[in-house]
Amino acid sequence: MIGQVIAISPENVVGETAKMKVEGYRFVTLSCVELDETTVDILYHFDREFQLKHFRLTVPKDAPVPSISPVYFAAFLVENEIQDLFGIRFQGLAIDYDRTLYLDEDVKKTPFCKYVVIKTAPLCEVPGEKAS
């Protein structure tokens, strides 16, 4: 119903995304879906001539995910959004808001998770700044 979906792993997400860029795909967005207490699905959506192609990455909530923003710069915004709302940590973000894109600095909860995750430590260090 949603078109071609390819399962990928965290190790090859950046490489596979880079291939999409070479093949002329436009980055559409990412969708994060909470599956259970410990796992989420991250769907990567790409478009070329109105044909959608998707990657499905199933990862534990506490495992870091490589950012694709070095490949598609525009992904930094949605990756920061997922970091805020679901608490998933993205490594290597082009611009890292450290969970302050929507939330205040003192917010510890992940508002879009049914099973709430409490942030106990900074998720990522902002480049050029010390993590508080």
């Binding site: 559409v28 969708s31 879906v33 769907l43 710069f73 929507y102 879009f112």
Partner: protein, 358 residues
Amino acid sequence: MTKTIIPFGPQHPVLPEPVHLKLTLEDEVITEAIPAFGFVHRGLEKLAEIRDFHQMVYVVERICGICSMIHAMCYCQGIEEMMGIEVPPRARFLRVIWSELHRIHSHLLWLGLFADSFGFESLFMQCWKIREKILDIDEATTGNRIIISVCVIGGMRKDLSPEQVNWILSELKDVEKEIKRLETTIMTDYTVQKRTVGKGSLTGKQAYELGLVGPTLRASGIAQDMRMLGYAAFNEIDFEPVVETEGDCYARCKVRFRETLQSIDLIRQAMAKLPEGELAVKVKGRPEGEIISRVEQPRGEVFYYIKANGKKNLERLRVRTPTFANVPALLAMLPGMWLSDVPVIVLSIDPCISCTER
């Protein structure tokens, strides 16, 4: 040279809604721009887990006032495809008519705000004066000026009588005449050109790689418009996307201006072909599975990802609005520009923060 950091927004005379830009400048020239949101975030996607999937039509309409009907259409279209519902032909054409009315009033609102961003007050007032006629049509046909609530899962809740169709056509004639009177000013006026030509330029390659959508992408020469997918009744009417090639603020203005006139033509086509018949079909059962629905809003492609598991609530509703896709463009457009150009460039992507902070 020493760097200066200037906060632009969230409260700024040129911004209709709150968004913040952290601008780094050397002298008067911008070297870096970092956007920030979160001033009015509502978490509407999360409501899908609590509300009935029928009730969510009302919620998605309130993501954005200016394109409320198009949000509802995109959502309904997704659920209908998931449940295998065939929408009656009359409802599909009515969706085209009301969605294009929304596009006209959104573009006229933007043309006014854009003129205001470089201090052209009389042009701003003229655009908004014309827009009132479209809002009057919405009010007379649906009872509301902005959030018109005409879409339901399975079809439409409102119809147009033959008298209303004739009245809308005569009103559109006046609207078209008045928009064309603005053409000389928008296309050739010295002030407009001085403030927009060569400002915030993006090549087609840059725009595509940044994932831009809508008029912001089409102004850089990429002919991409979700109406080409043929949703609603767009597969039954003549449609070619409006494209400009310069990629600057002036090109984005021209695309939206031409699209306003194009939408009038699309409404006329839809009204000429408006078939008789039912408005909606009865919806039975509950949605199950995953679906993606995309339509063209005034600001570009809106993307709905819907996941349902056969219950009355959806498992996940994800909305990627066009402004969310167009914000990264500001990071590429602003460096190298003067501080005084920031309002014009920011307005040129037609930012809808209400959509972005859904």
